[in-house]
């Protein structure tokens, strides 16, 4: 590849802590890798595992969930639910050959703009090293033949 690989990372940030922290990072003019595409949710507890898998299916190379620190959730316990789902989804991704570094859950409080910067930069660096997530697109009747051709190349 002549072009430098630029990973796409989808980040689900909770409105109260991590999204605000990302704002703060911006206001503080902290520079971080531009590879993150943020989806704002009210709470990390709203992150449905479907969203994470959908992000991977739709071409994300990594997914980051950002929530309030334990005990700090603005909705009291939403981040704990995120934690539970995270730990059940992890082995699923592992079995599907999706590397550990591609899926992260981080507690970032509204004041931790620097942590947003650090986590994102770290993740981009790690995923750049790993390369693109080579998840085969799901075929449709229209794309099937094209995909089968590719599949044959791989099999040979």
């Amino acid at each position: 590849m002549s072009e430098q690989f630029e990973p796409k990372i989808v980040a689900f940030f909770c409105n109260w802590c991590t999204y605000t922290a990302a704002d703060l990072a911006g206001i503080s003019r902290m520079k971080y890798a531009p590879n993150v595409r943020v989806v704002r949710l009210m709470c990390s507890g709203r992150v449905d595992p479907q969203f994470i898998l959908a992000a991977f299916r739709d071409g994300a190379d990594g997914v980051l969930i950002g929530g309030c620190h334990p005990g700090d959730c603005h909705y009291q316990e939403g981040n704990y639910k995120a934690l539970r789902r995270f730990h059940l989804l992890k082995p699923v991704l592992e079995e599907m050959n999706i590397e550990d570094e591609r899926f992260r859950l981080e507690w970032i409080s509204a004041s931790e703009g620097d942590k947003v910067q650090k986590v994102i930069n770290e993740m981009v660096e790690q995923i750049t090293k790993l390369g693109p997530l080579d998840l085969e697109p799901i075929s449709t009747p229209e794309t099937l033949d094209e995909m089968l051709e590719k599949e044959q190349e791989i099999a040979v």
Partner: protein, 321 residues
């Protein structure tokens, strides 16, 4: 007026779906009364060439069961698509990939290697594996191309309706056939089953507590399963809350947890992820260590949550490395 023509075909499946048709018992006579079955390999002697000879759209409807995992199946379903007015994906395998879809946790190479080389019962001293074409006596014998990825029917051809279940429950089949005959079909793409989860029709639903929190996930051999109480409340991984109703909860009636063969309800896209979310959410722990302990009690999450739905899920197959 001639009777509508109907076909049945099977792809990567076990034949259980055909059995489900037979399970109509004497009801099958009414079906035969109402329609002409023009293709059904398990029961009737029609060949591929007979199908190819049909006019396009000649069949009113074709029920196809089984996942699609080789070139022959693709060719067949493509032909059937052309010859049929409606295509109904029949059973979990054509709906979501079904149990054969679990092969998407592996690839062609490892499956061939296992099946033709390392399985203890194999005797294959030359180490041959199936070839698509083999020249024999001046002619060529062909085998279908085995795919790397198992696909659902709608990933290969356009599908009009889905009849879920492994195998589809008889009453749903009757309902579907009646709807087709009476022309009372819902919007294209619909699943011909109730759009509520199984808890709705479960006999044990009243024993499910309102404040269900699970301290430990149990496996069926670890406990003596109470025959009245909600299975999830007993700690068993019952996916009834995520699975479409319509099966009359036969597994739960047999004192075993629901494993999700009917697939998700209409608002859910990825059955496994949603079932996983629901199960993880009720784990009764906030501390990371306790969360890991309780969640760790769910063995084989991929196989448990996507037993019938892996090819239809967002990740649909293992990432190649």
């Amino acid at each position: 007026m001639s009777k509508p023509k109907v076909g049945f075909y099977w792809c990567a499946s076990c034949g259980g779906c055909e059995e489900a048709v037979v399970d109509l018992n004497e009801g099958v006579l009414d079906v035969v009364e109402a329609v002409d079955i023009v293709f059904w390999p398990v029961a009737l002697d029609f060949k591929r060439s007979d199908v190819e000879a049909m006019e396009d759209g000649e069949m009113a409807v074709c029920f196809i069961n089984g996942a699609i995992r080789n070139s022959e199946q693709k060719e067949m379903v493509e032909i059937l698509r052309k010859k049929s007015g409606l295509i109904v994906a029949f059973g979990s395998c054509s709906h979501m990939g079904g149990i054969p879809g679990l092969a998407n946790l592996h690839d062609k190479e490892s499956i061939f290697n296992r099946v033709y080389h390392t399985v203890p019962t194999i005797d294959n001293p030359d180490g041959t594996i199936p070839q698509v074409e083999t020249s024999v006596c001046g002619t060529t014998v062909e085998l279908p191309e085995f795919w790397d990825t198992v696909r659902t029917l709608n990933q290969v051809i356009d599908v009009d309706y889905y009849l879920p279940g492994c195998a589809p429950p008889v009453n749903l089949i009757v309902g579907a056939v009646t709807a087709i005959l009476e022309g009372k079909l819902p919007e294209k793409g619909a699943v011909l089953a109730p759009d509520k989860a199984l808890c709705d029709e479960c006999d044990r639903r009243e024993s499910k507590p309102e404040n269900l929190c699970i301290d430990e996930f149990k496996r069926p051999y670890q406990i003596i399963i109470d025959e009245e109480e909600c299975l999830l409340a007993q700690g068993l991984l019952c996916l009834g809350s995520a699975t479409r109703a319509g099966c009359d909860s036969i597994c739960v009636k047999g004192n075993m947890p629901c494993t999700g063969c009917m697939g998700p309800t209409s608002r859910v896209n990825d059955f496994g992820a949603k079932a996983l979310s629901a199960m993880a959410s009720v784990a009764n722990a906030n501390d990371e260590k306790d969360v890991k302990r309780i969640i760790g009690g769910i063995a084989d999450p991929v196989g448990s949550f996507n037993k019938y739905s892996l090819p239809a899920s967002y990740l649909h197959r293992k990432v190649r490395k």
